[in-house]
Symmetry: C2
Protein backbone atom coordinates (compact mmCIF):
# COMPACT_ATOMS: atom_id res chain seq x y z
CA UNK A 1 0.00 0.00 0.00
CA UNK A 2 1.49 3.32 -1.08
CA UNK A 3 1.65 6.34 1.19
CA UNK A 4 -1.14 8.10 -0.66
CA UNK A 5 -3.34 5.08 -0.30
CA UNK A 6 -2.57 4.78 3.43
CA UNK A 7 -3.36 8.46 3.80
CA UNK A 8 -6.70 8.08 2.03
CA UNK A 9 -7.54 5.06 4.18
CA UNK A 10 -6.80 7.07 7.31
CA UNK A 11 -8.88 10.00 6.03
CA UNK A 12 -11.81 7.68 5.41
CA UNK A 13 -11.84 6.64 9.06
CA UNK A 14 -12.69 10.10 10.44
CA UNK A 15 -16.28 10.43 9.13
CA UNK A 16 -17.05 6.97 10.51
CA UNK A 17 -16.29 8.07 14.06
CA UNK A 18 -19.29 7.39 16.34
CA UNK A 19 -19.31 9.53 19.48
CA UNK A 20 -19.52 7.93 22.88
CA UNK A 21 -18.60 10.89 25.10
CA UNK A 22 -16.51 14.01 25.53
CA UNK A 23 -13.38 13.23 27.56
CA UNK A 24 -11.89 16.70 27.88
CA UNK A 25 -12.32 20.22 26.64
CA UNK A 26 -9.35 22.48 27.30
CA UNK A 27 -7.12 25.18 25.83
CA UNK A 28 -9.84 27.74 26.50
CA UNK A 29 -12.36 25.38 24.96
CA UNK A 30 -10.46 25.24 21.68
CA UNK A 31 -9.47 21.59 22.02
CA UNK A 32 -11.89 18.71 22.44
CA UNK A 33 -11.01 15.08 23.02
CA UNK A 34 -13.79 12.70 21.99
CA UNK A 35 -14.09 9.04 22.89
CA UNK A 36 -16.00 6.93 20.40
CA UNK A 37 -15.68 4.02 18.05
CA UNK A 38 -14.94 3.24 14.43
CA UNK A 39 -16.15 -0.08 13.16
CA UNK A 40 -16.94 -1.15 16.77
CA UNK A 41 -13.36 -0.58 17.93
CA UNK A 42 -12.61 2.19 20.44
CA UNK A 43 -11.08 5.41 19.09
CA UNK A 44 -10.08 8.79 20.41
CA UNK A 45 -10.47 11.85 18.20
CA UNK A 46 -8.71 15.05 19.26
CA UNK A 47 -9.72 18.20 17.45
CA UNK A 48 -8.20 21.60 17.99
CA UNK A 49 -8.69 24.94 16.37
CA UNK A 50 -5.67 25.70 14.20
CA UNK A 51 -3.57 28.83 14.38
CA UNK A 52 -4.47 31.48 11.80
CA UNK A 53 -2.25 31.63 8.75
CA UNK A 54 -0.31 34.86 9.11
CA UNK A 55 0.84 35.51 5.54
CA UNK A 56 -0.39 38.69 3.90
CA UNK A 57 -2.27 36.80 1.18
CA UNK A 58 -4.58 35.20 3.67
CA UNK A 59 -4.82 38.13 6.03
CA UNK A 60 -5.75 40.56 3.27
CA UNK A 61 -8.70 38.40 2.17
CA UNK A 62 -9.62 37.34 5.70
CA UNK A 63 -12.30 39.92 6.50
CA UNK A 64 -13.97 39.62 3.11
CA UNK A 65 -14.09 35.82 3.35
CA UNK A 66 -16.10 35.76 6.58
CA UNK A 67 -19.67 34.47 6.48
CA UNK A 68 -22.68 34.53 8.79
CA UNK A 69 -21.42 37.62 10.60
CA UNK A 70 -23.73 38.23 13.53
CA UNK A 71 -23.48 41.33 15.68
CA UNK A 72 -23.80 40.63 19.41
CA UNK A 73 -23.52 44.14 20.76
CA UNK A 74 -21.83 47.50 20.55
CA UNK A 75 -20.64 50.22 22.87
CA UNK A 76 -19.36 53.42 21.35
CA UNK A 77 -16.46 52.49 19.03
CA UNK A 78 -16.41 48.84 20.19
CA UNK A 79 -18.56 46.12 18.66
CA UNK A 80 -18.41 42.35 18.81
CA UNK A 81 -19.60 39.52 16.57
CA UNK A 82 -19.73 35.82 15.88
CA UNK A 83 -18.80 34.63 12.40
CA UNK A 84 -17.87 31.60 10.35
CA UNK A 85 -14.69 31.24 8.36
CA UNK A 86 -15.01 30.30 4.70
CA UNK A 87 -18.14 30.03 2.58
CA UNK A 88 -20.68 27.53 3.82
CA UNK A 89 -23.60 26.55 1.65
CA UNK A 90 -24.26 23.01 2.76
CA UNK A 91 -26.96 21.83 5.10
CA UNK A 92 -24.64 20.30 7.67
CA UNK A 93 -22.60 23.50 7.92
CA UNK A 94 -25.68 25.35 9.06
CA UNK A 95 -25.83 22.99 12.04
CA UNK A 96 -22.30 23.78 13.12
CA UNK A 97 -21.92 26.84 15.35
CA UNK A 98 -19.80 29.87 14.39
CA UNK A 99 -16.09 29.17 14.74
CA UNK A 100 -14.88 32.75 15.14
CA UNK A 101 -15.33 35.58 17.59
CA UNK A 102 -14.65 39.08 16.26
CA UNK A 103 -14.11 42.44 17.87
CA UNK A 104 -14.10 45.63 15.87
CA UNK A 105 -12.71 48.92 17.16
CA UNK A 106 -13.80 51.60 14.72
CA UNK A 107 -12.57 54.21 14.43
CA UNK A 108 -9.51 53.35 16.51
CA UNK A 109 -6.75 55.58 17.87
CA UNK A 110 -2.96 55.39 18.24
CA UNK A 111 -3.51 54.24 21.82
CA UNK A 112 -5.42 51.18 20.61
CA UNK A 113 -2.65 50.40 18.15
CA UNK A 114 -0.05 50.63 20.92
CA UNK A 115 -2.12 48.47 23.22
CA UNK A 116 -2.40 45.67 20.67
CA UNK A 117 1.14 45.84 19.35
CA UNK A 118 3.21 43.07 20.89
CA UNK A 119 5.35 44.43 23.71
CA UNK A 120 8.82 43.06 24.20
CA UNK A 121 9.18 41.54 27.64
CA UNK A 122 12.25 41.86 29.88
CA UNK A 123 13.36 39.97 32.96
CA UNK A 124 14.61 42.23 35.72
CA UNK A 125 16.19 41.52 39.08
CA UNK A 126 15.06 43.99 41.70
CA UNK A 127 17.62 43.91 44.51
CA UNK A 128 16.84 45.09 48.03
CA UNK A 129 18.74 48.26 47.19
CA UNK A 130 16.91 48.93 43.91
CA UNK A 131 13.65 48.39 45.74
CA UNK A 132 14.49 50.82 48.54
CA UNK A 133 16.05 53.49 46.34
CA UNK A 134 13.84 53.43 43.27
CA UNK A 135 10.84 51.10 43.35
CA UNK A 136 9.42 51.97 46.75
CA UNK A 137 9.44 55.72 45.91
CA UNK A 138 7.72 54.84 42.63
CA UNK A 139 5.04 52.95 44.56
CA UNK A 140 4.61 55.89 46.91
CA UNK A 141 4.16 58.41 44.07
CA UNK A 142 1.71 56.00 42.50
CA UNK A 143 -0.34 55.83 45.72
CA UNK A 144 -0.24 59.57 46.25
CA UNK A 145 -1.63 60.22 42.80
CA UNK A 146 -4.94 58.89 44.08
CA UNK A 147 -4.81 55.74 42.01
CA UNK A 148 -6.06 53.71 44.97
CA UNK A 149 -9.25 55.68 45.53
CA UNK A 150 -11.32 52.99 43.86
CA UNK A 151 -9.89 50.41 46.29
CA UNK A 152 -10.61 52.56 49.34
CA UNK A 153 -14.10 53.26 48.02
CA UNK A 154 -14.82 49.54 47.89
CA UNK A 155 -13.26 48.89 51.31
CA UNK A 156 -15.27 51.71 52.87
CA UNK A 157 -18.46 50.49 51.27
CA UNK A 158 -19.03 53.45 48.98
CA UNK A 159 -18.88 51.76 45.56
CA UNK A 160 -19.14 48.37 43.82
CA UNK A 161 -20.85 46.84 46.85
CA UNK A 162 -22.94 44.63 44.56
CA UNK A 163 -19.70 42.86 43.57
CA UNK A 164 -18.49 42.20 47.10
CA UNK A 165 -19.07 38.49 47.65
CA UNK A 166 -17.69 38.20 51.15
CA UNK A 167 -16.47 40.62 53.80
CA UNK A 168 -14.89 40.51 57.23
CA UNK A 169 -13.82 43.54 59.25
CA UNK A 170 -10.90 44.11 61.59
CA UNK A 171 -7.14 43.71 61.50
CA UNK A 172 -7.64 40.47 59.64
CA UNK A 173 -10.42 42.01 57.60
CA UNK A 174 -10.74 41.51 53.88
CA UNK A 175 -13.30 41.43 51.12
CA UNK A 176 -13.66 39.15 48.12
CA UNK A 177 -14.51 40.26 44.58
CA UNK A 178 -14.72 38.30 41.33
CA UNK A 179 -11.77 38.89 39.02
CA UNK A 180 -12.74 40.70 35.82
CA UNK A 181 -11.57 37.75 33.73
CA UNK A 182 -13.86 35.24 35.42
CA UNK A 183 -17.25 34.49 33.84
CA UNK A 184 -18.68 34.18 37.40
CA UNK A 185 -20.10 30.75 36.73
CA UNK A 186 -17.52 28.15 35.58
CA UNK A 187 -16.21 26.78 38.87
CA UNK A 188 -13.08 25.16 37.44
CA UNK A 189 -11.99 28.57 36.20
CA UNK A 190 -12.89 30.38 39.42
CA UNK A 191 -10.83 33.53 39.88
CA UNK A 192 -11.43 35.75 42.91
CA UNK A 193 -9.53 38.67 44.39
CA UNK A 194 -9.20 39.28 48.11
CA UNK A 195 -8.45 42.89 49.11
CA UNK A 196 -7.14 43.18 52.65
CA UNK A 197 -8.68 45.87 54.82
CA UNK A 198 -5.47 47.17 56.41
CA UNK A 199 -3.69 49.79 54.37
CA UNK A 200 -0.09 49.50 55.52
CA UNK A 201 0.80 46.68 53.14
CA UNK A 202 1.49 47.98 49.63
CA UNK A 203 2.80 44.74 48.13
CA UNK A 204 4.51 41.49 49.12
CA UNK A 205 7.69 43.59 49.64
CA UNK A 206 6.17 44.83 52.92
CA UNK A 207 5.79 41.34 54.39
CA UNK A 208 8.17 40.44 57.22
CA UNK A 209 8.57 37.61 59.70
CA UNK A 210 6.19 39.55 61.95
CA UNK A 211 3.39 38.94 59.45
CA UNK A 212 3.69 35.14 59.39
CA UNK A 213 0.82 34.53 61.84
CA UNK A 214 -1.35 37.15 60.13
CA UNK A 215 -0.62 35.59 56.73
CA UNK A 216 -1.50 32.11 57.96
CA UNK A 217 -4.78 33.40 59.37
CA UNK A 218 -5.51 35.22 56.11
CA UNK A 219 -4.82 32.04 54.15
CA UNK A 220 -7.25 30.07 56.32
CA UNK A 221 -9.89 32.78 56.13
CA UNK A 222 -9.61 33.03 52.33
CA UNK A 223 -9.94 29.27 51.89
CA UNK A 224 -12.91 29.26 54.29
CA UNK A 225 -14.60 32.14 52.48
CA UNK A 226 -14.16 30.63 49.02
CA UNK A 227 -15.37 27.18 50.06
CA UNK A 228 -18.33 28.76 51.86
CA UNK A 229 -19.22 30.67 48.69
CA UNK A 230 -18.76 27.55 46.53
CA UNK A 231 -19.34 24.46 48.70
CA UNK A 232 -18.58 22.04 45.85
CA UNK A 233 -14.95 23.22 45.84
CA UNK A 234 -12.61 21.71 48.41
CA UNK A 235 -10.00 23.89 50.11
CA UNK A 236 -7.11 22.00 48.52
CA UNK A 237 -8.46 22.80 45.05
CA UNK A 238 -7.65 26.49 45.54
CA UNK A 239 -4.44 28.20 44.59
CA UNK A 240 -3.45 31.46 46.30
CA UNK A 241 -0.91 33.91 44.94
CA UNK A 242 0.18 37.53 44.80
CA UNK A 243 1.52 39.45 41.84
CA UNK A 244 4.84 41.20 41.80
CA UNK A 245 4.71 43.72 40.32
CA UNK A 246 0.99 44.10 41.05
CA UNK A 247 -1.28 46.41 39.06
CA UNK A 248 -2.02 48.55 42.12
CA UNK A 249 -0.20 48.99 45.39
CA UNK A 250 -2.71 47.80 47.95
CA UNK A 251 -2.16 44.22 49.01
CA UNK A 252 -4.49 41.78 47.28
CA UNK A 253 -4.42 38.02 46.91
CA UNK A 254 -5.57 36.00 43.92
CA UNK A 255 -7.69 32.94 44.63
CA UNK A 256 -8.06 30.60 41.65
CA UNK A 257 -9.29 27.08 41.10
CA UNK A 258 -6.32 24.74 40.70
CA UNK A 259 -7.86 23.56 37.41
CA UNK A 260 -7.91 27.07 35.91
CA UNK A 261 -5.72 26.98 32.86
CA UNK A 262 -2.46 28.69 33.68
CA UNK A 263 -1.86 31.92 31.80
CA UNK A 264 0.17 35.05 32.42
CA UNK A 265 -1.67 35.77 35.68
CA UNK A 266 -0.19 32.57 37.18
CA UNK A 267 3.18 32.75 35.51
CA UNK A 268 6.52 32.37 37.27
CA UNK A 269 8.15 35.79 37.36
CA UNK A 270 4.79 37.42 38.09
CA UNK A 271 2.81 35.17 40.45
CA UNK A 272 4.25 34.40 43.91
CA UNK A 273 2.53 31.62 45.83
CA UNK A 274 1.16 32.86 49.17
CA UNK A 275 2.25 29.66 50.92
CA UNK A 276 5.75 29.84 49.49
CA UNK A 277 6.10 33.47 50.61
CA UNK A 278 5.14 32.34 54.11
CA UNK A 279 7.68 29.56 53.81
CA UNK A 280 10.37 31.95 52.57
CA UNK A 281 9.71 34.24 55.55
CA UNK A 282 9.86 31.27 57.94
CA UNK A 283 13.29 30.40 56.56
CA UNK A 284 14.67 33.87 57.31
CA UNK A 285 16.42 35.03 60.49
CA UNK A 286 14.51 37.27 62.95
CA UNK A 287 13.92 40.84 61.84
CA UNK A 288 14.08 40.10 58.10
CA UNK A 289 11.46 40.31 55.43
CA UNK A 290 10.69 40.37 51.74
CA UNK A 291 12.22 43.86 51.43
CA UNK A 292 15.63 42.30 52.09
CA UNK A 293 15.78 39.88 49.15
CA UNK A 294 16.22 40.15 45.40
CA UNK A 295 13.11 39.47 43.34
CA UNK A 296 13.26 38.56 39.66
CA UNK A 297 10.23 39.17 37.49
CA UNK A 298 9.22 40.27 34.01
CA UNK A 299 8.06 43.63 32.71
CA UNK A 300 6.70 44.78 29.38
CA UNK A 301 8.91 47.41 27.77
CA UNK A 302 6.09 49.92 28.01
CA UNK A 303 5.84 49.52 31.77
CA UNK A 304 7.03 52.67 33.59
CA UNK A 305 9.19 50.51 35.84
CA UNK A 306 11.09 49.43 32.73
CA UNK A 307 11.32 52.80 31.00
CA UNK A 308 12.04 54.84 34.16
CA UNK A 309 14.05 52.50 36.38
CA UNK A 310 15.33 49.23 34.94
CA UNK A 311 16.24 50.36 31.43
CA UNK A 312 18.30 53.33 32.72
CA UNK A 313 19.96 51.00 35.28
CA UNK A 314 20.77 48.50 32.52
CA UNK A 315 22.29 51.27 30.43
CA UNK A 316 24.40 52.40 33.36
CA UNK A 317 22.48 55.60 33.98
CA UNK A 318 20.58 56.58 37.08
CA UNK A 319 16.84 55.95 36.92
CA UNK A 320 14.70 58.95 36.08
CA UNK A 321 12.16 60.32 38.53
CA UNK A 322 9.32 60.52 36.02
CA UNK B 1 -32.25 53.41 14.31
CA UNK B 2 -33.46 50.20 15.90
CA UNK B 3 -31.12 47.65 17.44
CA UNK B 4 -31.48 45.26 14.53
CA UNK B 5 -30.65 47.99 12.11
CA UNK B 6 -27.61 49.07 14.15
CA UNK B 7 -26.51 45.44 14.26
CA UNK B 8 -26.82 45.07 10.49
CA UNK B 9 -24.91 48.31 9.99
CA UNK B 10 -22.12 47.01 12.21
CA UNK B 11 -22.11 43.68 10.37
CA UNK B 12 -21.77 45.48 7.04
CA UNK B 13 -18.55 47.14 8.21
CA UNK B 14 -16.55 43.92 8.56
CA UNK B 15 -16.28 42.92 4.87
CA UNK B 16 -15.12 46.46 4.08
CA UNK B 17 -12.06 46.12 6.30
CA UNK B 18 -8.86 46.84 4.33
CA UNK B 19 -5.75 45.29 5.88
CA UNK B 20 -2.76 47.45 6.69
CA UNK B 21 -0.77 45.07 8.87
CA UNK B 22 -0.85 42.34 11.51
CA UNK B 23 -0.35 43.85 14.97
CA UNK B 24 -0.26 40.70 17.07
CA UNK B 25 -0.81 36.99 16.84
CA UNK B 26 -1.14 35.25 20.20
CA UNK B 27 -3.06 32.62 22.15
CA UNK B 28 -1.05 29.92 20.39
CA UNK B 29 -1.72 31.64 17.09
CA UNK B 30 -5.46 31.42 17.56
CA UNK B 31 -5.98 35.15 17.93
CA UNK B 32 -4.97 37.76 15.39
CA UNK B 33 -5.21 41.51 15.74
CA UNK B 34 -5.31 43.31 12.41
CA UNK B 35 -4.81 47.01 11.81
CA UNK B 36 -6.55 48.41 8.76
CA UNK B 37 -9.16 50.86 7.63
CA UNK B 38 -12.84 51.07 6.78
CA UNK B 39 -13.90 53.93 4.60
CA UNK B 40 -10.44 55.54 5.07
CA UNK B 41 -10.75 55.61 8.87
CA UNK B 42 -8.43 53.43 10.99
CA UNK B 43 -9.88 50.25 12.45
CA UNK B 44 -8.69 47.30 14.47
CA UNK B 45 -10.18 43.87 13.84
CA UNK B 46 -9.55 41.14 16.40
CA UNK B 47 -10.42 37.61 15.37
CA UNK B 48 -10.15 34.58 17.58
CA UNK B 49 -11.02 30.97 17.12
CA UNK B 50 -14.11 30.19 19.18
CA UNK B 51 -14.41 27.41 21.73
CA UNK B 52 -16.08 24.26 20.42
CA UNK B 53 -19.72 23.83 21.31
CA UNK B 54 -19.78 20.96 23.79
CA UNK B 55 -23.41 19.84 23.61
CA UNK B 56 -24.03 16.29 22.44
CA UNK B 57 -25.97 17.40 19.35
CA UNK B 58 -22.97 19.15 17.92
CA UNK B 59 -20.40 16.68 19.13
CA UNK B 60 -22.25 13.71 17.66
CA UNK B 61 -22.31 15.25 14.18
CA UNK B 62 -18.86 16.82 14.48
CA UNK B 63 -16.76 14.12 12.80
CA UNK B 64 -19.21 13.63 9.95
CA UNK B 65 -19.40 17.37 9.25
CA UNK B 66 -15.66 17.76 8.62
CA UNK B 67 -14.47 18.59 5.13
CA UNK B 68 -11.17 18.59 3.25
CA UNK B 69 -9.67 16.04 5.63
CA UNK B 70 -6.00 15.71 4.76
CA UNK B 71 -3.78 13.09 6.35
CA UNK B 72 -0.35 14.41 7.33
CA UNK B 73 1.20 11.27 8.72
CA UNK B 74 0.73 8.16 10.80
CA UNK B 75 2.69 6.07 13.25
CA UNK B 76 1.16 2.80 14.42
CA UNK B 77 -2.21 3.63 16.00
CA UNK B 78 -1.60 7.40 15.82
CA UNK B 79 -2.47 9.53 12.81
CA UNK B 80 -2.83 13.27 12.33
CA UNK B 81 -4.74 15.48 9.90
CA UNK B 82 -5.76 18.95 8.86
CA UNK B 83 -9.43 19.60 8.15
CA UNK B 84 -12.04 22.30 7.70
CA UNK B 85 -15.15 22.66 9.78
CA UNK B 86 -18.44 22.88 7.94
CA UNK B 87 -19.14 22.37 4.25
CA UNK B 88 -17.33 24.75 1.95
CA UNK B 89 -18.29 24.96 -1.69
CA UNK B 90 -17.43 28.53 -2.53
CA UNK B 91 -14.38 29.77 -4.33
CA UNK B 92 -13.11 32.02 -1.54
CA UNK B 93 -13.36 29.20 1.00
CA UNK B 94 -10.87 27.21 -1.01
CA UNK B 95 -8.38 30.01 -0.47
CA UNK B 96 -8.69 29.90 3.30
CA UNK B 97 -6.44 27.37 5.05
CA UNK B 98 -7.80 24.48 7.16
CA UNK B 99 -9.04 25.67 10.54
CA UNK B 100 -8.73 22.39 12.43
CA UNK B 101 -5.99 20.02 13.47
CA UNK B 102 -7.04 16.44 14.21
CA UNK B 103 -5.40 13.51 15.92
CA UNK B 104 -6.84 10.03 15.72
CA UNK B 105 -5.81 7.23 18.07
CA UNK B 106 -7.28 4.05 16.64
CA UNK B 107 -7.72 1.57 18.11
CA UNK B 108 -7.16 3.15 21.52
CA UNK B 109 -6.77 1.53 24.95
CA UNK B 110 -7.98 2.23 28.49
CA UNK B 111 -4.65 3.95 29.13
CA UNK B 112 -5.34 6.49 26.40
CA UNK B 113 -8.79 7.13 27.84
CA UNK B 114 -7.30 7.69 31.28
CA UNK B 115 -4.63 9.99 29.88
CA UNK B 116 -7.17 12.23 28.17
CA UNK B 117 -9.76 12.25 30.93
CA UNK B 118 -9.53 15.45 32.94
CA UNK B 119 -7.67 14.86 36.19
CA UNK B 120 -8.72 16.67 39.32
CA UNK B 121 -5.86 18.80 40.64
CA UNK B 122 -4.92 19.22 44.31
CA UNK B 123 -2.73 21.70 46.11
CA UNK B 124 -0.40 20.09 48.63
CA UNK B 125 2.03 21.52 51.16
CA UNK B 126 5.13 19.41 51.46
CA UNK B 127 6.74 20.24 54.80
CA UNK B 128 10.41 19.59 55.52
CA UNK B 129 9.29 16.53 57.51
CA UNK B 130 7.03 15.14 54.76
CA UNK B 131 9.87 15.61 52.32
CA UNK B 132 12.42 13.78 54.49
CA UNK B 133 10.10 10.96 55.59
CA UNK B 134 8.10 10.28 52.46
CA UNK B 135 9.02 12.25 49.34
CA UNK B 136 12.78 11.78 49.39
CA UNK B 137 12.43 7.98 49.74
CA UNK B 138 9.96 8.10 46.82
CA UNK B 139 12.53 9.97 44.74
CA UNK B 140 15.19 7.43 45.67
CA UNK B 141 13.03 4.45 44.67
CA UNK B 142 12.23 6.28 41.45
CA UNK B 143 15.94 6.75 40.68
CA UNK B 144 16.81 3.17 41.59
CA UNK B 145 14.23 1.82 39.17
CA UNK B 146 16.50 2.98 36.37
CA UNK B 147 14.19 5.71 35.22
CA UNK B 148 17.16 8.04 34.80
CA UNK B 149 19.08 5.85 32.39
CA UNK B 150 18.02 7.99 29.45
CA UNK B 151 19.43 11.08 31.20
CA UNK B 152 22.75 9.37 31.96
CA UNK B 153 22.91 8.10 28.39
CA UNK B 154 22.66 11.64 27.08
CA UNK B 155 25.14 13.03 29.62
CA UNK B 156 27.63 10.29 28.80
CA UNK B 157 27.21 10.88 25.09
CA UNK B 158 25.67 7.52 24.23
CA UNK B 159 22.27 8.62 22.88
CA UNK B 160 20.40 11.60 21.46
CA UNK B 161 23.64 13.42 20.71
CA UNK B 162 22.06 14.95 17.62
CA UNK B 163 19.75 16.89 19.96
CA UNK B 164 22.50 18.27 22.21
CA UNK B 165 22.78 21.93 21.25
CA UNK B 166 25.46 22.97 23.72
CA UNK B 167 27.72 21.19 26.20
CA UNK B 168 30.27 22.03 28.86
CA UNK B 169 32.06 19.52 31.07
CA UNK B 170 33.16 19.70 34.67
CA UNK B 171 31.62 20.46 38.04
CA UNK B 172 29.75 23.29 36.36
CA UNK B 173 29.09 21.12 33.33
CA UNK B 174 25.72 20.96 31.65
CA UNK B 175 24.14 20.29 28.30
CA UNK B 176 21.27 21.98 26.53
CA UNK B 177 18.45 20.21 24.66
CA UNK B 178 15.34 21.56 22.98
CA UNK B 179 12.18 20.95 24.98
CA UNK B 180 9.80 18.53 23.24
CA UNK B 181 7.11 21.20 23.07
CA UNK B 182 9.24 23.68 21.17
CA UNK B 183 8.97 23.77 17.36
CA UNK B 184 12.74 24.50 17.25
CA UNK B 185 12.29 27.59 15.14
CA UNK B 186 9.97 30.23 16.67
CA UNK B 187 12.34 32.27 18.81
CA UNK B 188 9.68 33.97 20.92
CA UNK B 189 8.50 30.55 22.04
CA UNK B 190 12.02 29.21 22.66
CA UNK B 191 12.01 26.44 25.26
CA UNK B 192 15.27 24.68 26.15
CA UNK B 193 16.24 22.29 28.91
CA UNK B 194 19.62 22.34 30.64
CA UNK B 195 20.64 19.05 32.27
CA UNK B 196 23.44 19.51 34.79
CA UNK B 197 26.33 17.06 34.59
CA UNK B 198 26.72 16.44 38.33
CA UNK B 199 24.48 13.73 39.68
CA UNK B 200 24.15 14.62 43.35
CA UNK B 201 21.30 17.08 42.84
CA UNK B 202 17.98 15.31 42.44
CA UNK B 203 15.74 18.37 42.58
CA UNK B 204 15.64 21.90 43.98
CA UNK B 205 15.15 20.30 47.43
CA UNK B 206 18.88 19.46 47.40
CA UNK B 207 19.99 23.07 47.00
CA UNK B 208 21.59 24.70 50.05
CA UNK B 209 23.40 27.92 50.82
CA UNK B 210 26.58 26.14 49.75
CA UNK B 211 25.27 26.02 46.19
CA UNK B 212 24.67 29.75 45.81
CA UNK B 213 27.92 30.43 43.93
CA UNK B 214 27.47 27.35 41.77
CA UNK B 215 23.89 28.38 40.98
CA UNK B 216 24.96 31.89 40.02
CA UNK B 217 27.64 30.49 37.72
CA UNK B 218 25.12 28.10 36.18
CA UNK B 219 22.70 30.96 35.62
CA UNK B 220 25.37 32.97 33.83
CA UNK B 221 26.50 29.99 31.76
CA UNK B 222 22.93 29.14 30.71
CA UNK B 223 22.23 32.71 29.64
CA UNK B 224 25.55 32.78 27.75
CA UNK B 225 24.85 29.46 26.03
CA UNK B 226 21.33 30.42 24.94
CA UNK B 227 22.36 33.84 23.64
CA UNK B 228 25.31 32.25 21.82
CA UNK B 229 22.94 29.76 20.18
CA UNK B 230 20.42 32.50 19.32
CA UNK B 231 22.28 35.83 19.06
CA UNK B 232 19.12 37.81 18.34
CA UNK B 233 17.88 37.05 21.86
CA UNK B 234 19.20 39.22 24.69
CA UNK B 235 20.01 37.67 28.07
CA UNK B 236 17.25 39.59 29.84
CA UNK B 237 14.66 38.07 27.50
CA UNK B 238 15.23 34.64 29.03
CA UNK B 239 13.33 33.16 31.93
CA UNK B 240 14.90 30.36 33.98
CA UNK B 241 12.96 28.03 36.24
CA UNK B 242 12.85 24.57 37.79
CA UNK B 243 9.83 22.37 38.30
CA UNK B 244 8.78 21.01 41.63
CA UNK B 245 7.73 18.31 41.40
CA UNK B 246 9.83 17.62 38.31
CA UNK B 247 9.09 14.77 35.88
CA UNK B 248 12.45 13.11 36.66
CA UNK B 249 14.83 13.40 39.56
CA UNK B 250 17.98 14.72 37.97
CA UNK B 251 18.36 18.45 38.24
CA UNK B 252 17.36 20.30 35.08
CA UNK B 253 16.57 23.91 34.40
CA UNK B 254 14.01 25.28 31.93
CA UNK B 255 15.12 28.15 29.72
CA UNK B 256 12.26 29.92 27.95
CA UNK B 257 11.83 33.13 26.03
CA UNK B 258 10.10 35.69 28.24
CA UNK B 259 7.52 36.12 25.45
CA UNK B 260 6.56 32.42 25.45
CA UNK B 261 2.91 32.25 26.37
CA UNK B 262 2.64 31.08 29.94
CA UNK B 263 1.02 27.68 30.35
CA UNK B 264 1.18 24.95 32.97
CA UNK B 265 4.95 24.58 32.57
CA UNK B 266 5.43 28.13 33.92
CA UNK B 267 2.63 28.05 36.46
CA UNK B 268 2.95 29.10 40.09
CA UNK B 269 2.81 25.95 42.20
CA UNK B 270 4.93 24.10 39.63
CA UNK B 271 7.60 26.46 38.28
CA UNK B 272 10.13 27.96 40.70
CA UNK B 273 12.24 30.81 39.35
CA UNK B 274 15.97 30.00 39.48
CA UNK B 275 16.80 33.55 40.57
CA UNK B 276 14.18 33.53 43.30
CA UNK B 277 15.50 30.19 44.62
CA UNK B 278 18.96 31.77 44.81
CA UNK B 279 17.42 34.75 46.56
CA UNK B 280 15.53 32.50 48.99
CA UNK B 281 18.78 30.67 49.82
CA UNK B 282 20.58 33.99 50.32
CA UNK B 283 17.93 35.00 52.85
CA UNK B 284 18.48 31.86 54.95
CA UNK B 285 20.87 31.46 57.88
CA UNK B 286 24.12 29.46 57.39
CA UNK B 287 23.72 25.72 57.04
CA UNK B 288 20.16 25.84 55.75
CA UNK B 289 18.71 24.91 52.41
CA UNK B 290 15.59 24.14 50.39
CA UNK B 291 15.13 20.85 52.27
CA UNK B 292 14.28 22.87 55.39
CA UNK B 293 11.26 24.76 54.08
CA UNK B 294 7.68 23.91 53.20
CA UNK B 295 6.86 23.89 49.51
CA UNK B 296 3.32 24.20 48.19
CA UNK B 297 2.54 22.89 44.74
CA UNK B 298 -0.17 21.13 42.75
CA UNK B 299 -0.53 17.48 41.78
CA UNK B 300 -2.95 15.65 39.52
CA UNK B 301 -4.99 13.07 41.42
CA UNK B 302 -3.41 10.32 39.34
CA UNK B 303 0.10 11.30 40.38
CA UNK B 304 1.66 8.65 42.65
CA UNK B 305 2.69 11.38 45.07
CA UNK B 306 -1.00 12.14 45.54
CA UNK B 307 -2.31 8.59 45.69
CA UNK B 308 0.55 7.21 47.81
CA UNK B 309 1.58 10.09 50.05
CA UNK B 310 -0.60 13.20 50.18
CA UNK B 311 -4.04 11.60 49.95
CA UNK B 312 -3.30 9.15 52.80
CA UNK B 313 -1.84 12.03 54.84
CA UNK B 314 -4.96 14.11 54.21
CA UNK B 315 -7.14 11.22 55.31
CA UNK B 316 -5.08 10.82 58.47
CA UNK B 317 -3.46 7.55 57.47
CA UNK B 318 0.21 6.89 56.99
CA UNK B 319 1.43 7.06 53.41
CA UNK B 320 1.77 3.76 51.63
CA UNK B 321 5.12 2.52 50.37
CA UNK B 322 3.88 1.60 46.89
Amino acid sequence: MGDDEAGRAAEALIPQFQLERLLTQDQAGRRIVLLGSIDSKPAILLAERAAFASDDDHLSTFAASLEHIKNLGANDIYSWFLASSGVSNGASAAQQPPDLKLNLIYPCTEKHVKKYTTQRVRMVTETAETFAKHVRPYMQRNREEGRLNWVFNIIEGRTEQEDVMYREHGEEGFLVLPDLNWDRKTLTSLHLLALVERRDLWSLRDLTRNHIIWLKHMRQKLLDAATKLYPSIEWDELKLYLHYQPTYYHMHIHIVHAMLEAGTTQSVGKAFSLENIISQLEGMPEGKGMADVSLTYFLGEQNELWTNIFLPLKEGQGPSQA
